[in-house]
Symmetry: C2
Subunit: 108 residues, 2 copies
């Protein structure tokens, strides 16, 4: 995890620096539901490249937001899930959901 003095002073900018990209947000939206495997995520997130998915997962793992669990099966199964700290993002996604629905209603 980063050290406190590596993060922006502004709390909004801190959150944006940790999860503020299209793909991180969509990955987290999925992980809120349940653990996902890499290839499942890749298939669901249309248009994401292997590199961006790998980098986004590694970065959020390093920041303590998600866990990576390797199950010693054949073939090996690797699952990504929210960490307890990651679970605390749920209110953000509730607000994104409410606003998205509200925006769509203004177009009806």
């Amino acid at each position: 995890m980063k050290k406190l003095d590596e993060l922006p002073e502004c709390p909004v900018a801190t959150t944006v620096s940790l999860i503020g990209s299209k793909w991180k947000l969509l990955i987290l939206r999925n992980l809120i539901q349940r653990p996902w495997r890499f290839n499942e995520l890749k298939k669901d997130l249309e248009g994401i490249s292997q590199k961006v998915l790998t980098d986004s997962l590694r970065s959020m793992e390093a920041d303590g937001l998600i866990t990576r669990t390797v199950y010693p099966e054949v073939p090996i199964r690797v699952e990504y899930a929210l960490s307890p700290l990651g679970e605390s993002i749920q209110p953000i996604f509730k607000s994104l959901e409410v606003w998205g629905n509200n925006y769509k209603e203004t177009l009806m």
Copy 2:
């Protein structure tokens, strides 16, 4: 503004498609405080390029989230502000702020 059928079905993905980028989020964080001029934003948002700032503002104007007001002074003054629809994003930024503070507390 986009038509309803141009937006993703998922409301979270809708919000992400409209404001889910580092710079759009940081611009909106500023506009929640008060109207800002282009050069003020450029100066405050360290590292943003002229093109990304212009594109982000145009895109959010086209999506009905911000207004662009030209004041016929010398030199001309142009101000960007949240539209009434843009004002409705405030709960999102409250949740980003709360989570950013919470994350920082875990590092203390």
